[in-house]
């Protein structure tokens, strides 16, 4: 882990720092993906909180529901045809009652797909602890910084992060 970052007391100063870094990319020699933002709560109203906010999770959940439902229908129908049990004068394959299990497995498929999609796309679990982090985030601070900054730009980055309103500027991995 090699980074330089500032800890900001409020979202407005963090927003300023984020914009400063966005503008300084080409000048100081780092890329957009190197900008690090870590917060203790979501800030969707701010630009820095809107990074990576494109996801296909709802569609994947719907697909998971479809797969769950089809699997449920197949499972029940296959069982009823393979091991016939005549009861109550009903058909062998009873669409009304099979619909209940199909419905439950549709919802289960959607729920599990949502969970798995969250874990994969949010990249958790990750217990290695090798990525940039600062416990001050838990106390409401907002971390804005740069991963793997160019050595010759570190000093300038520190100055600009500080000028944007950072309470403290830290470096790690040097």
């Amino acid at each position: 882990m090699n980074a330089i970052y500032g800890l900001y007391p409020d979202p407005d100063s963090a927003q300023r720092a984020f914009h400063v870094l966005e503008r300084a990319q080409s000048e100081l020699g780092f890329q957009d993906r190197d900008i690090a933002v870590l917060t203790g709560e979501p800030y969707e109203e701010y630009d820095f909180g809107q990074r990576d906010n494109v996801t296909r999770m709802p569609w994947l959940a719907a697909l998971g529901g479809l797969v769950g439902g089809l699997s449920g229908w197949w499972f029940v129908t296959f069982s009823q045809k393979s091991y016939p049990m005549i009861s109550g004068g009903m058909h062998l394959v009873t669409k009304w009652s099979n619909g209940i299990i199909t419905y439950e497995l549709t919802m289960l498929g959607a729920i599990l797909t949502t969970l798995v999609t969250l874990l994969i796309t949010a990249r958790i679990p990750d217990w290695r602890g090798r990525k940039l982090y600062d416990p001050a985030i838990s106390n409401g601070k907002i971390l804005i910084g740069v991963n793997n900054p160019p050595e010759n730009a570190r000093e300038e980055l520190g100055k600009r992060l500080s000028a944007a309103g950072a309470e403290v500027v830290k470096e790690c991995g040097r």
Partner: protein
């Protein structure tokens, strides 16, 4: 509430580090009751199901009453939390986790009752749909099998719904803890860091889950009602049972939530977070459900009375003026006559003590309702020569009391390892400026304006 994030952390994490003598006293008493319940269950396993009061023709009684009752209580949490999330009710933030925890524990307790009721719990796997060597595949036309799928879907969904928004709070504890706590919370926080991507995915997942879990919750109690309604038993074979059970479940669930929140507020000193406004809002919901419950009971009884079918009327009269009538009228008092006026009068509803006074009888009344659905119908089942009676044994009573204690104990333990209020969601509400709106609503509530 003008608190810094650091102060909020301290307030809401305090119960994880410090327990008062009240906590240990309550935990000891509840543990003793749970142990007694396990002893009673062990006694039943050793001597057989005959030690219970179950006998022909009443083969479903206390255990199935408890099963249905706890499924109903489980609607307190995930369903109410999901509805409040979907409707974006800002006052929900301190309430949701208290509610979601109730669901997980109540469902777990209710799922024990089919096992207890089996008499031979080591054959529990017969409940699971699997191809057995006996050549009997599951009967998918049986409502009992629908239960299996519905309850497990709801349980998995509810655990997920509780767990997802907990990761950021676990990370918060991890950052402040040391020793074994740091290790444990490092694992359960899954390495949460709080990147915008993680927050966005978490919020999206919670939105999807909230939408998905509402129909699942409705289906669960509908399917539990179909355990009864699919049988041609007097008093059961009714199309109204699905919505009637769902409404009753939400009703008892909200009452349980109010009681749990009041206890937590007192025991964990959360007065600044669980405010009268939260109880007032839940009280309004409870009032609506009380009226709805009365409407369903009246509609159901009226239809039965008007139909005048002899077998239905035998059950009807035994609950109205017969041997079950004291329980029936106690139920009406507990579910409607006591709580409805309390909750309708604003000056009472906005006082926490009064909402609790309204909620406790509802819990009693809703348990009685489940009992009155099951036992009078089975003891007056169509042919008079087959009429019978039921009296619970000490085993059933002890197990029933033990489950209530078990619920309390699980909740106490939960409050020692989980922040009982979602910290990041509370802070988010403050950042979004919801606090002033809530404060003005609170001020309006506190003005003496009568009913």
């Amino acid at each position: 509430m003008n608190k810094t994030p650091e102060q909020i952390n301290q307030d809401l994490l305090r119960p994880l580090y410090h327990a008062t003598w009240r906590f240990y006293a309550a935990a000891t008493i509840l543990t003793a009751l749970v142990v007694a319940a396990f002893f009673a269950w062990g006694y039943q396993i050793y001597y057989g199901i005959g030690v219970s009061g179950l006998n022909r023709p009443v083969f479903w009684a206390f255990y199935i009453t408890n099963f249905v009752f706890w499924i109903g209580i489980s609607h307190a949490g995930t369903l109410i939390s999901a509805i409040l999330r979907v409707s974006n009710a800002s006052w929900r933030r301190p309430v949701t986790r208290c509610a979601e925890a109730i669901t997980v524990f109540a469902l777990s307790i209710s799922a024990m009752f089919p096992l207890i009721h089996l008499g031979r719990p080591w054959l529990f796997f017969w409940l699971i749909p699997y191809p057995s060597e006996r050549g009997i595949w599951p009967q998918f036309r049986s409502p009992l099998l629908w239960d299996f799928f519905a309850i497990n879907t709801y349980l998995i969904g509810s655990v997920t719904f509780l767990a997802l928004p907990s990761f950021p709070d676990f990370a918060l504890i991890r950052d402040r803890a040391d020793g074994w706590r740091k290790k444990v919370y490092s694992i359960v926080s899954l390495g949460w860091r709080g990147t915008p991507k993680q927050w966005h995915r978490l919020e999206m997942a919670m939105r999807i889950m909230a939408v998905a879990i509402i129909p699942v919750a409705v289906s669960v109690h509908t399917i539990v009602s179909w355990d009864f309604a699919m049988a041609p038993v007097p008093g059961w074979h009714s199309t109204i049972f699905g919505p009637y059970f769902v409404a009753g479940a939400i009703f008892s669930g909200i009452a349980a939530l109010i009681i749990a929140m009041a206890l937590l507020r007192k025991l964990l000193h959360l007065e600044e977070y669980l405010k009268p406004i939260h109880f007032d809002n839940l009280g309004k919901l409870l009032l609506v459900m009380s009226l709805l419950w009365f409407y369903f009971v009246f509609a159901e009884r009226l239809t039965t009375w008007y139909g005048n079918s002899p077998s239905e009327m035998a059950v009807f009269w035994t609950t109205q003026v017969g041997s079950f009538s004291p329980l029936f009228w106690t139920m009406v008092f507990c579910n409607f006559i006591i709580p409805a006026p309390i909750l309708a009068i604003k000056n009472l509803r906005n006082k926490i003590g009064w909402t609790v006074v309204a909620s406790i009888p509802i819990i009693i009344g809703m348990w009685l309702e489940r009992f009155l659905i099951i036992v009078p119908s089975l003891s007056h089942k169509i042919l008079p020569y087959n009429f019978g009676s039921y009296r619970p044994s000490w085993v059933e009573i002890t197990i029933t009391v033990g489950t209530f204690a078990g619920m309390g104990l699980l909740y106490l333990i939960f409050s020692r390892v989980f922040p009982i209020i979602s910290i990041w969601e509370l802070k988010l509400g403050m950042t979004k400026g919801e606090a002033p709106a809530l404060a003005s609503q609170e001020a309006a509530t506190e003005q003496p304006q009568g009913g």
